[in-house]
Structures are given as structure tokens and as C-alpha cells.
Amino acid sequence: MSMVRTNRERRLLRSLSVVLAGASLLGACASSDVADLKLSSPDAKVEQSTVTFLRPTIDDPDCIDPKESYSPTAVGFTTDAPVSGRLAAIRKRGFLLAGVDQDTYLFGYRSSTSKEIEGFDIDMLKAVAKRIFKSDDPKYLRLKAIKYADRIGSLVRGPNNNGVDIVADTFTMNCARWSLINFSSQYYDAAQKILVLGSSAAKNLADLSGKKVCAAKGSTSVDNLRDNNPAVLIVEVADQTDCLLKLQSSQIDAISTDDTILLGLAAQDPTLKLLPDAFSPEPYGLGLPKGDKTFTRFVNSVLEEMRTNGEWKRLYTKWIGSKTNTDADPPPAKYRAEVVG
């Protein structure tokens, strides 16, 4: 009898356990319904610069004066079709691929009316393409907007590796850059200045000690600022126009770069003022591939012709003189002394 009762008890307990286990399973089921629910929102992709800033560290040993380029009148040089080098490749390809800025007002910027990139620098390139292909058909020139910090890198990589043939982008000539690329003869004479808010009390760079001054990353402006007043707080940005946004929103106290660029920025905002003091000369040249003297001489021959036939002066008036009420002559070309033979 006792044994029978024990079995009943066991059966009761077993039944109860089964019921409780079933109830527990129901509870577990509720969680499993949603356990694998997940979201697939991608992380916000922040624009990352893919540019590796190629910064020259030593001066070119052959560079005595950075304004000096290779003469177009060297013995044996001809502007007729060369059989090798970059110039031959460009002709074979059918267009000149040029690296430019699309945000530098008056020099290289995207026009909201024509939707094309235009400016003083762009017209320089059009002249080069016209001479190469002996035609002013726009199909012979393709423009590629590049970052300031990628001007040297684009030339070093070349057109077959996401680079370009030539760069026209307010490019200051110096001996350090000559160690990695060639420059054409100087085509514009700029100087570094300072742009501030109209209400600013600053009159020169010295007054900006401890203040935030903005410049484009990869430009000589950054080095010049450090050299001329180490006490300024330099804010580096990807594009010159980013400096304008920061100045307009009071995130910085001043912008310092070439007067040509500052003129363009001031033209977009009449409440800004350009300080007259210049503290660093900035000679502009067209950037070209290192070592390709033929291509460099060819480009110099084009610039030489523009200097002499009045084309340079016409373009200056069109883009800069008419906006600033100034007149200027082309900077004289300087060439390296080369040993013949």
C-alpha cells in the first residue's frame, strides 16, 4: 500500500513538473520570438579624405631659384609632335587631364550658371590644351577637381593611377616641391595676406597672436604662418572655402593664404576685409610631372606666347582686374641655366 502511494506521489510530482516545464517553455518561447530581431542601419559614413598628403621634406639640389624652369628655347626642342614622354601619351589619349580646384573663386571654381569649372587657372589650361591639339574644342581638356593636399600626389601618380597630367591650382613654386615635381615658368605673382571680419581690430599678423587663423592643409600658407608668427593658432581645413564658413560662423579669427584666394573669398562676403600687409611672396606655376623636361618646355612655350601676345593680360583683366580694379603685367619668365650637350 505504501509503495503504491509512493508511486502516485511520484506521478503527481512528475505531472506537476511537466506542467511547470511547459509553462517555462512558453515563457522562453516569448523571448525567442524576438531574439534575432536586428537593425541594419549602416553607420554614418563620414567623408574621409583618401588623399595621402605627399609633403616634400628636402629641397631639390638643382633648384637655385624656385621660379626658374626649363627654357622652351633649348637647343633641340620643338613644339611639333614628340615621339615619347607625357606629351606623346596625351596626344595618343586624346585629351589633357588636368587637376584643378573647384572652390577657389576667380581662379578655379564651379560656375553656378555655366555649371562648368572656370577661372584664371582654367584658362591657362585651355591655352595649353589648345596648343597640344591645335584646336580649342573643349573635348581636349578634362578637368578633375582635386584636394589642395593632393596636388603633388596627383602628379606623382599620373593619369593612369587616378592622377593627372598637369595641375593648375594656385600652386606656389618652391625648391622643396621641385624635388618631387616640375613647375612651369611663373604665370602669376601672388603674396600671402590676411582676411578678417570687418569688425576685427587686427591690422597685421602680429596682432593675431593667440588667435585662430585658418589655412588649407597642404598649402605653403601653413608653413609661412608658423615661420612668421609661431604664436598664432593654425586651423587646417581641406578646402579654402571651409575657412570662409568658419570665419562667417565665428569659429576662427582670420584666414591667411594667397591674396588671390582671399580676394575671391572677400568677393563672396562684403563684410570681410583684406589686410594690406603681405608677408610672403607666392609665385604660381603650373605643376608638371617630375623629370619630363619636354612637357615642361612645351608648356613654357605656351606661357611665353601668352605673355607676348597679350593673352595673359586679357585673362587677368577678365578674371581679376575687373573684380579688383587693378591692372598687372605678366611676371617675367626665368629659366635655369642648362649645359648644352
Binding site: 542601419s41 549602416p42 567623408e47
Partner: protein, 545 residues
């Protein structure tokens, strides 16, 4: 948002359903063990109950000899002692006053309590007096448990209390489960989906603003409309999120909301500059995108993840936890107790069946069964809502976010000549997985059309550097254009998302709909169980009178 005011803690019991069941199971085994011990130890409990007699008992106030429970038959004439002893609180022993009997019968906890309180002066502390009274009550109860009529009375009280408790629990469990389902539908899931809607819309606005800016001058009216619509949709979604989200996350939502005017101001400045032909507009449009990507979207994604976690936590409350778990646990304990009570009474009174108790057991069993079926039905409907409504909603919403994000990246890439291939591949992969599960073949085809169309401006930039043509292509509105294919995908995906969301809401609504008739049936059967149980017990009790 309907029912936006409903706010409940996530788990009011603070234990998991499994833990709750474990505790209940321990309780059941403990009770079962105690009953077995008392059944085995009380040899007299199997003795034949005394015949009811009119009695010759003369003692009323003083307990006269009650039946010598648990030892053997009771002598005639002492039956009224049962009532007397019940009234005086004395336990069986059949001699002396109730107080003396209580002292004699005190054991276990009662003895320990008396021993512990022996050093206290009871005349000086009313609290101690109250404690002593409580101890006395405990002793009387324990004393009652030693007698068969006392045990019957305790069982009667137990049946009544259990029925009341179980009725309360059954009603509360049903109400709370409906509330949980409503909270899931109107708040938790709505917040997740509204956040995803905001996420997709703000990325769509980014894409429209950037693409329109590229056109230069006055942006195409179609792009402007896309931007305005997307911003309106984003702000509406954010307002709905703000109304329904957990209070702990409201600050984060406010921070995001504060960034939207900042974003639209940057876009407006970019437009103003662009119209005047100033290239500084591009700096403003880049800054607007950066604001979204660095400040708004990371916070939004974090909120989305948190909201989904909140949904999952709340959904667990639909399971056999909380009030329902306790109800079922106690219900099964009551069931077991009823069955053991019947066995004990069968042995005690030599009658195999007590109709009242059998009826009570059946009624309790039915009420538990109905509860379980109701709960399972609610869970099944909620589960169906998740599988057929929420899951596809999340998939489609997530895909929209990915596609809109890819479009925004594409537009930004056109400015900087970036490569957005990886973003589209990711969106395509997500969409293909939903196609397998939900048969969105049309959506996949539309997305494919869009990817093909958007490849054209990318190719123009990458292979020919023809920037102007690329921008024209990006802003073209004709058939098979980037915009037309994108609009087709966006409209269809929105339609499917709305459909899936409606499915979720309606299916969840069936889980919310309180089955009042079921609840009434459960409570009725519980009351019936109590009435039948009391009737069965009273029949046996009367045999002592």
C-alpha cells in the same frame, strides 16, 4: 501615437519566468512533503469519523473532552467539544482549558517563539503583547491543524482564499498582458520604426540637398520637393519618437531635434551662396552633410539599438512570467492540494469520492486550462505580429535606410569623386535577403534599376572625368533616370513598409483585445471551484456536529 500615456516597468516581479517557476516548484514540493508527513504521522486521521450526536455535553464555555484526535474513536457525548475547542482555540488533548491545551500542544515554531520571548516582561511593552497575541493565534492555528474538524476548517478557508487570490491574479494577469501588448505596439515597436523612418528620411534629405546643389544655381524643383518632403517626414517621425520613447532617452531625442534646424540652416546658406555663384556654397553643403553624419546619425543609430532592446525586454513580459506565472504556479499548487485533500479525506472518511471536491478540482482544472489557452493564444497572436509584421517592417525600413544612405554617399561622392560602390553593395545584399524571405522581387528589381542608373554618373566621373555630364545625369528626371528609378523604389518600399507596419499593428491588436469572456469564464470557474470545495468540506464537517 495611440496609448502614448501608458508607461509600465519592464518586469514588475524582478525575476525571470524561469526563476519564478523554480520558486513555485520548490513551494509545491515543500507543501506536498508536509502534507505527506502529516498524513503518514497521523494514524488517527485514517480513523472513522465520529458519529454526529445530539450530545449530552453540558460544557459550553469550557472545553469538554473533544474527540481524542488523533487517537481512536471519540467517546460519545464529547462531540460538542469540537465547537468549544474551536471557539477557545484549544487543540486536541481533551482536557483542561484552551490555554493549557495550547501550551501542551505548542511545538516547532511556536515553542521556539515562546522560548525566545520568555525573558521579556509582557506587561511593559504593548508591542510584545501584540506579539504574544500573534503567537497565541499561531499556536491555536497549529492546534487546530491537529484535529480533523480543524483541518477541514483550514482547508475550507484555504479553498476560499485560494479562489479569491487566483481570481485576482487571473484578472490582473489578463489586464497586464493586454497592457504589455499595447505598449509593445503603440510605444516600443512604434519608436523603433519611427526612428528608422527618421533615419531614412534625413538621409534622403541629405541626398536630395546634395544632388540639387550639384545642379548649381537654382536647384531643380523636383529635388527641392524631395528635400522638403524628406525634412517634413523626418521631423514628423522625430516628434512621434519623442512622444513615445522612454523618458531616459528624451534628452537624446531633444539633442537630435535641435540639430535639425542647424542642418536646414546650413543647407539654406549653401543654396543662397550657390544662387549667387559663390563657391563657398559647397563648403556649407559639405558642412551640412558632416553635421548629419557626425552628430545626428550616430545618436539616431544608438537610439534605434536601444529602442529595439527595450522592445525585446518588454516582449519577454508576454511570456509566462509576472502575474500569469504566479497564477499558473499557484493554480497548480491549489490543484495538487485539492487532489491530496481528496486522498486524505477518502482515507479519513472511508469514502472514495467527495463530489464537492471532485467538482472543485474539475472547475479549477478548467480555469487553469482556459488561462493557459488564453495566454498561449495571446502569445501566438503576438508572435504572428512579430513574424508577419514587425520583422519585415524592420527589414524593409533597414533596407530603405541603407539605400538612402547610399544615395547620399553617391551625391557626396560626385562632389569629391568618391567611390560609393560598397554602400550600394551592402544595400543590395540586405534587400536580397528580404527577397528570399518575403518575396519582394519587385522591390529588388526596382533597386537594381536604380543601381544601374546611378552607375552612369559615377562612370562618367571615374572613366571620362566628364563632371558636367555626370551632374546632369544625376539630376535628370526622365524615364530610367537616377531620380525616376530611385523614386519608384522609394515609393514601393514605403508602401510595403506601411503594409507590414499595418499588419503588425492589426495582428498585435488581436493580442491586445482583452478576452473578457475568457477572463469571466476563468473567474467563474474559480468561484465555482471554491463553492464546490466548500460544499464538499462542509458535508464532512457537518458529520462532526
Amino acid at each position: 501615437v495611440a496609448g502614448g500615456g501608458w508607461k509600465t516597468p519592464t518586469n514588475e516581479w524582478g525575476v525571470t519566468a524561469l526563476g519564478c517557476h523554480f520558486i513555485v516548484a520548490l513551494g509545491v514540493m515543500g507543501l506536498y512533503g508536509r502534507l505527506m508527513v502529516s498524513t503518514k504521522g497521523g494514524g488517527g486521521s485514517r480513523s472513522k469519523p465520529p458519529k454526529t450526536s445530539s450530545g449530552s455535553n453540558s460544557g459550553v464555555a469550557v472545553a469538554t473532552a473533544p474527540p481524542p484526535i488523533p487517537s481512536g474513536p471519540v467517546s460519545p457525548g464529547s462531540a460538542t467539544g469540537v465547537q468549544s475547542s474551536q471557539a477557545s482555540g484549544a487543540s486536541g488533548g481533551g482536557s483542561g482549558s484552551g490555554k493549557r491545551s495550547a501550551n501542551r500542544s505548542a511545538s516547532g515554531l511556536g515553542t521556539s517563539f515562546l522560548a525566545g520571548g520568555s525573558n521579556v516582561d509582557p506587561g511593559k511593552d504593548s508591542t510584545i503583547e501584540a506579539g504574544a497575541h500573534a503567537a497565541g493565534f499561531g499556536r491555536r492555528a497549529l492546534g487546530n491543524a491537529k484535529t480533523t474538524p480543524g483541518r477541514l476548517s483550514i482547508a475550507l478557508a484555504g479553498v476560499a482564499i485560494s479562489a479569491l487570490l487566483l481570481s485576482l491574479l487571473a484578472g490582473t494577469a489578463t489586464i497586464r498582458r493586454s497592457a504589455v501588448a499595447q505598449d509593445l505596439r503603440d510605444n516600443k515597436a512604434a519608436v523603433v520604426l519611427d526612428l528608422l523612418s527618421f533615419d531614412a528620411s534625413i538621409r534622403e534629405a541629405d541626398a536630395a540637398a546634395t544632388t540639387g546643389f550639384l545642379a548649381g544655381g537654382v536647384e531643380p524643383p523636383e529635388q527641392r520637393k524631395r528635400y522638403d518632403d524628406a525634412i517634413a517626414k523626418a521631423t514628423k517621425s522625430l516628434a512621434e519618437v519623442s512622444a513615445a520613447i522612454e523618458p531616459k532617452n528624451r534628452l537624446a531625442v531633444s539633442t537630435i531635434a535641435a540639430k535639425i534646424p542647424e542642418y536646414t540652416a546650413l543647407v539654406a546658406t549653401a543654396r543662397a551662396n550657390n544662387r549667387q555663384g559663390f563657391p563657398s556654397g559647397s563648403a556649407y553643403i559639405r558642412a551640412s552633410s558632416t553635421l548629419l553624419r557626425e552628430q545626428v546619425l550616430p545618436s539616431t543609430i544608438s537610439l534605434e539599438q536601444g529602442a529595439l532592446r527595450d522592445f525585446k525586454t518588454r516582449y519577454a513580459d508576454l511570456g509566462i512570467g509576472g502575474f500569469l506565472g504566479v497564477f499558473l504556479g499557484l493554480g497548480f499548487v491549489a490543484l495538487l492540494a485539492l487532489m491530496l485533500l481528496q486522498r486524505w479525506m477518502a482515507q479519513k472518511f472511508h469514502r472514495n469520492i467527495n463530489l464537492g471536491l471532485v467538482g472543485a478540482t474539475a472547475a479549477l482544472l478548467i480555469s487553469l486550462g482556459v488561462s493557459l489557452v488564453t495566454a498561449t493564444g495571446q502569445m501566438s497572436r503576438a508572435s504572428g505580429a512579430v513574424y508577419d509584421g514587425l520583422r519585415p517592417s524592420l527589414d524593409i525600413a533597414g533596407t530603405r535606410v541603407r539605400v538612402f544612405s547610399a544615395k547620399a554617399d553617391d551625391a557626396l561622392g560626385l562632389i569629391g569623386r568618391g567611390n560609393t560602390e560598397s554602400s550600394f553593395a551592402s544595400a543590395q545584399e540586405t534587400l536580397r535577403s528580404t527577397n528570399v524571405v518575403y518575396g519582394n522581387a519587385e522591390l529588388v528589381r526596382q533597386f537594381g534599376d536604380y543601381v544601374s542608373a546611378s552607375q552612369i554618373p559615377r562612370d562618367l566621373v571615374a572613366s571620362t572625368n566628364d563632371y558636367a555630364k555626370a551632374i546632369d545625369e544625376a539630376n535628370r528626371e526622365g524615364q530610367d533616370s537616377v531620380n525616376a528609378t530611385f523614386d519608384a523604389f522609394a515609393a514601393n518600399s514605403q508602401e510595403q513598409l506601411d503594409g507590414a507596419r499595418d499588419t503588425f499593428r492589426s495582428r498585435m491588436g488581436t493580442a491586445i483585445g482583452t478576452p473578457r469572456n475568457r477572463t469571466a469564464a476563468i473567474v467563474s470557474f474559480l468561484i465555482l471551484s471554491a463553492v464546490l470545495g466548500a460544499w464538499g468540506l462542509r458535508m464532512r464537517q457537518r458529520e462532526y456536529q
